[in-house]
Amino acid sequence: MLKHLAGRLAEALVALVLMSLVIFLLSRVIGDPVALLLSDSATEADRQLLIQQLGLDRPMWQQYFTFLGNALQGDFGQSVTAGREDALELVLSRLPASLSLAGVALAFTLVLGILLGVLAAITRGTLADLAVRMLALLGQSAPSFWLGIMLIYVFAVHLGWLPTSGFGGPAYYVLPALTLGLFTLAAITRLVRASMLEALSSEYVKLARIKGLSEWSVVLRHALGNSLIPVVTFMGTFFATMITGAVVVETVFAWPGIGRLAYESIMARDFPVIQTVVLVITAFFILANLIVDLLYLAIDPRMRAAG
Amino acid sequence: MTPPDRALRVVPERAETPPRPAPSGPPILEARRLGRAFKVRGGLLHALSNVTLSCAPGTSLGIVGESGCGKTTLNRLLLALDRPTSGEVMFRGKPLSDMSRAEMRVYRRAVQPVFQNPYSSLSPRMKVRRIIAEPLSASREMSRAGVRDRVIEVLEQVGLSADVADRLPSEFSGGQRQRIAIARALASRPELLLLDEPVSSQDISIQAQILNILKDLQEDYGLATLFVSHDLATVRFMCDEVVVIYLGRVVERGPAARICTTPDHPYTAALLAAALPADPAAPATDTPPMGELPSPLSPPSGCAYHTRCPFAQEICKQERPVLKETPRGEVACHRVSAEGWS
């Protein structure tokens, strides 16, 4: 089992370095940041001065290796715009906001998704089944920023129940997590419904009924256990969608997360921060995938033997 | 759907099989000390070891064994879908491994397979005509009209009407699909049919129809057949000679009639007992099958069957018996010396 994990870690490192190269080149090609930092009335001398200060005058590959060398020691360079703050520190300071939001959103989507999925499967073919799927579908078909703004106007402006935006206590999580999660809700509901239908028509569920168990215990103890396995395998993808959606949701809800930091740093051509943010996000995905692998082993004994 | 036609011969016809004409010419397909081992997590799995057999023109050889005995691996090796790790597959005396592309094309036409599951043998998206014509596509000598006639001809040989050619496999029952699969095998006028459990997944009435068609093909066209099955009764009906395989090794070979009446190897006896006859009055057996099939990853020492053999002695645990020639055929069992039972 350990060999399997070691293999996956090695692959993860390769992926990270690969990603760092891609991002490094891409951000260099963006157009140089100096143009942005120079004030309107700057002269050529000022431009050279800034280039030299930022070390952009050295050849590209040398810049990359210095970057990689520093990165390994945790020094991802200084944020070009945010007053010389250390890029990694800046990203890590914004990380808890994004992770907590993605976590809350994923939790609420999983719970609601599984409930709706099971409900739809049990009431298969009836109106309830259709209604549940349409409700879940609504989340997937409405652009998240539109949904977010609508929720703000309804729940914060008209009803005044919740804060419109900002980062703070539990109340601040409700609307952003709802917006972020709704997008994945349809996917989870559909997945759970499909695997539940498969489980309910299986022989081992028939045998459970033969034992005389009540329909509820058959559904909860036998069918649900098996139908959650595919949900785990897709957990990595759902987490990815969360972070991807965060860029929009964090902008709409003024949430100080890394999604918004990435957006703003790209607009401000802040190389070091761009590289750091994307690398941290990619590292997180790889970590999420590793965790999913472990979860998968824990849930499905068949995998444990193959381990 | 083809309407059920009326002909029914209810009164059982129980004539014995007339003696077969002696096989003529060199063997079409031979396996010489064939072996195949797979690398798996737990070590080396010997699916097949030291199997020797040959199919002469017009003969019918039966391979009998239970799941995990390696009969499917053998079939894939003979069809050159897989390469042996030891031993050789010979076609007309020449090893497959060093045959040119042209020679391989002749081999491909001469030896045709029929698999067990009719639902998996026909590509769902292809009309029956193209399925049957596929083996001819490689040879390219036949003109389009020639192919069209050949398709009709082989459909009639398996008792199906010409209009079947333009329909999709999904429109046919299991039995009809298996007939189409047989027609496909006949298309390139083969000399040898490799039948891998062709009737195991069919109902009794359909099984009988297909077995009769195969028997007709053997006798009317002198087709050689290699019939792989787990069911001794079917092999008795179809084949002259039988080879019994256990955990990838040949344990007994002999004429079908003899094997089914006085088996030498205890495993063959157990198989015979397990093939329950459709007769409540049949005498109970004195060699009932015992024990579980051991894992092929770690076969028992000495004779692989000793863990389930009622006659197992000390020698059986230490030393693997060699396949010995006897007047009754071949057998690999310490209890049976060259002359007969010791």
Partner: protein, 278 residues
């Protein structure tokens, strides 16, 4: 009963969407790109203050919202079709190859798929837009860069299933080469599942394009995409709700229809795949 009704309804809606996208622009009397500033932000005909001149009202440059929705349908459909073509072909080619060949090739490609699935598509779109400037091509490339992995994952799984069918072994015993087998047997039999993935992805693409427009890197103005219209109209959701609400509703209807049709197709082809499409 409800299932067939919802399927027919959804299918009807999709047909309307495609027809509007193909022929709508020719039937319009208003030019979706030109409007008069005087008639800026007029409400739809049925709302008070609205006029029959502009059935669904006008946007902030006085352009007819109905005309832009019709023109937008064409652009949104075009984005979907091009993405499906690019992502579909690349994904299927890689997935089929990986499933058919197996071994380390399969492992490497699947690792690539996992990485692609984890790519933050919106950030990449922003980076691309900064490099090349927002354009139709840029959006299509970026969205395809991530969505190809859905096709790859599906076509790999299906190829593995088909590869183990007997008719593939039979084809090899007839001497067919690997390429012939892939084209005669593998592709035709995995096509239905890929069609399902394509259907389900129409929804994902439209919504993704809307998010990109929100961040300013969507289909470049002045030509309208539904997502772009919703993004443009968001700052006056209260005073001129119709500018973003109507295209928003159009998106919701089409995406829902696509998902209903997608699920129904999955049931007909092989229920086992249900839910794994999106």
């Amino acid at each position: 009963m409800t299932r067939d009704l919802s399927f027919k309804l959804a299918l009807g809606l999709l047909v309307v969407f495609v027809l509007v996208a193909l022929f709508g622009p020719y039937l319009l009397e208003h030019d979706p790109l030109r409007g008069s500033l005087r008639a800026r932000l007029d409400p739809p005909a049925w709302a008070e203050g609205g006029s029959a001149e502009h059935l669904l009202g006008t946007d902030r440059l006085g352009r007819d919202v109905l005309a832009r929705i019709v023109q937008g349908a064409r652009i949104s459909l075009a984005v979907c079709l091009v993405v499906i073509a690019i992502a579909g072909s690349i994904g299927t080619a890689l997935g089929t190859f990986s499933g058919y060949v197996g071994g380390w090739v399969d492992r490497v490609l699947m690792r690539l798929v996992d990485l692609a699935l984890s790519l933050p598509v919106i950030l990449l779109a922003l980076l691309f837009a900064a490099v090349v400037g927002p354009s139709f091509l840029n959006i299509v490339i970026v969205i395809s860069m991530v969505l190809w992995s859905q096709y790859a994952r599906m076509s790999r799984g299906e190829t593995l299933r088909v590869k183990n069918e007997d008719y593939v072994d039979l084809a090899r015993t007839s001497g067919l080469g690997h390429v012939a087998i892939i084209f005669r047997h593998v592709l035709p039999n995995i096509a239905p599942s890929l069609i399902v993935v394509a259907t389900l992805q129409v929804g994902v693409v439209i919504v993704l394009e809307a998010s990109l427009s929100f961040l300013g890197v969507g289909v470049p103005p002045p030509n309208p995409s539904w997502g772009g219209m919703v993004a443009e109209g968001r700052s006056y959701i209260v005073t001129a709700w119709w500018v973003s609400a109507l295209p928003g509703i159009a998106i919701v209807l089409v995406v829902m229809a696509v998902n209903v049709v997608g699920d129904a197709l999955t049931d007909r082809i092989n229920p086992g795949l249900r839910g794994r499409g999106a």
